[in-house]
Amino acid sequence: MTAATDRTPAPGRIARVRALAVDHPTIAIGIAMLAVVVLAGALAPLLWTVDPQTISPANRLRKPNERFWFGADLIGRDVYSRTVFGARVSLLVGLGVAVAAIATGLVVGLLSGFVRWFDAVAMRVMDGLMAIPSILLAVALIALTGASLQNVIVAIAVSEVPRVARLVRSVVLSLKEQPFVEAAVAAGTPFHLLLIRHVLPNTTAPLLVQGTYIFASAVLTEAILSFIGAGTPPAIPSWGNLIAEGRTVFQIAPHIVLFPGIALSWTVLAVNLLGDGLRDALDPRFVSRTR
């Protein structure tokens, strides 16, 4: 009896999660697909078959076989092992950009929502940032600061901040009109409590959805930046770098481009599916429209 109740606080939650997965199968599919990538990245040191940095000219451009599962690249490195390690770079960039952009955007958005003079300045800067194509802004930043993983994350995050800031600002502005917030203000609720109890909880759902989209677009952008030579240093096996290395020989050895390309598309698809599912599940406006 007690043993059973000890274990039962979960059923309600498990049932709810299961219902969510049944109502929005894309969430479950997205998580499952993403789990494969996360596992590949986490277990990369166990999963590789040939040391990813070993150069063996004898095996250059080798087609996929039982030793080189995805074939070998221009200087005979194993494409499979490098692709597995590439998962780490992509996940790190996706997560890093999402966290950095949301943290910065949250602060800017909150300040804009509450401080009028700040709002006027910040929103004009955000308008300007949004008019600059994100890839080009990142290219310029990386050209000026030098190519490193950290600089790549910052450069991509900068152009994602305006969207987060605007989202948070609009949530704050609509909340300020709500009776329960007006009541809380009238009752003399200190500002930090107002923030923690009323404002922040209302931003989590939209930010979660926005975060998945930022993650997906950051993974894509990092690959594009590496591909055009303005991203992660070439020594790091990111998927964009692997594809860039195969560019010149791709007609005779397409496997160098294709396998990292599939890994990249798979990851972005997983996060997009998760994001679409979360948006449908969390956005009350959308639910009322479809049912």
Binding site: G128, L141, L144, I224, I243, Q251
Partner: protein, 313 residues
């Protein structure tokens, strides 16, 4: 109407001014010494000093910004560090292939996405809808360069229908021009098409259960007349808006597509500038592309009146 156009035109000036300020400030905001980073690791200290003077980093911020803005306003985007030629000339020379590729991708995307989105909404929940929306998610997730390589492998290497790479100007004849641009335009347009198809479907769904659509049907209009003449026309404003916002996808995509297909456009110029650490060229390209983006969205704003007679300026 004219006063509205003028006021919207004037409203783009502060946005462009802020874009210019941001692009210009990057040189000063970046941590460390940009001249040293741009000069590269093998550079001598004289090289770095020379670059510092070329970039104007030896002068105070405001003086330099004043000179630079005035130069930009008179059409002078600076001088390439690599070739010593005016950046504006370099960009103008490369403009034709980029404009051709972008316009073709835009046309392809709209022609594929709008009918697909309309049919998906009309038969929502049906096979076409599921297929179209599945393809749209896939289109979002397939990186431009991966799609490009798949297309080349299939259509150029296997079937030999299209050339693998390269560009032929329109002056060489329409057929070789289109043959060279078909694959890059398709690869570039797909993400854009996915975005437009989703918005078309969502916007049409809102309109289709309105009373006037039912009335149009009841008075015996054909399905096509109802869908296009009544529903699509009323659903157009959000669709046109997303076409404007999504134009950024084309600008980013052009850099990649031109690299994969070896097209000598502005995107290729950018990639070459990155490899040569030619910052004035990068700066000029950003300014031009941002200007185009702002302009496209201005046109989108102005086009609302065409679709919705209730919008009068």
């Amino acid at each position: 109407m004219i006063s509205y156009i003028v006021s919207r035109l004037l409203a783009t000036i502060p946005v462009m001014a802020i874009v210019a300020l941001i692009v210009f400030s990057l040189l000063y905001l970046s941590p460390g010494d940009p001249a040293a980073v741009l000069a590269g690791e093998q550079a001598t200290s004289e090289d770095i000093e020379r670059l510092r003077v070329v970039l104007g980093l030896d002068q105070p911020f405001l003086t330099r910004f004043g000179q630079w803005s005035w130069a930009v306003l008179t059409g002078d985007l600076g001088t390439s560090v690599f070739s010593n030629r005016p950046v504006a000339d370099l960009i103008l020379q490369r403009m034709e292939p980029t404009i051709a590729l972008t316009l073709l991708a835009l046309a392809l995307a709209v022609l594929i996405a709008v009918p697909l989105g309309v049919v998906a909404a009309w038969r929502s929940g049906g096979i076409v809808d599921r297929l179209a929306m599945g393809l749209a998610v896939l289109g979002f997730s397939l990186p431009v360069f991966v799609l490009s390589y798949l297309l080349i492998l299939f259509f150029s290497v296997q079937l030999k229908i299209f050339p693998v790479q390269g560009y032929r100007p329109l002056a060489d004849g329409l057929e070789p021009f289109l043959r060279h641009l078909a694959l890059p335009a398709f690869a570039l347009g797909i993400v854009y098409a996915a975005l437009i198809a989703r918005m078309t479907r969502a916007s049409m769904l809102e309109v289709l259960n309105q009373d006037y659509v039912r009335t149009a049907r009841a008075k015996g209009l054909s399905t096509v007349a109802v869908l296009v003449g009544h529903a699509l026309k009323n659903a157009a404003v959000p669709i046109v808006t997303v076409i404007g916002i999504g134009f950024a996808l084309l600008i980013s995509g052009v850099v990649v597509t031109e690299t994969v297909f070896n097209i000598p456009g502005v995107g290729r110029l950018t990639v070459d500038a990155i490899l040569r650490r030619d910052y004035p060229v990068i700066q000029g390209v950003i300014l031009v592309f941002s200007g185009v983006y702002v302009l496209v969205n201005l046109l989108v704003d102005l086009s609302y009146a065409l679709f919705d007679p209730r919008i009068r300026y």
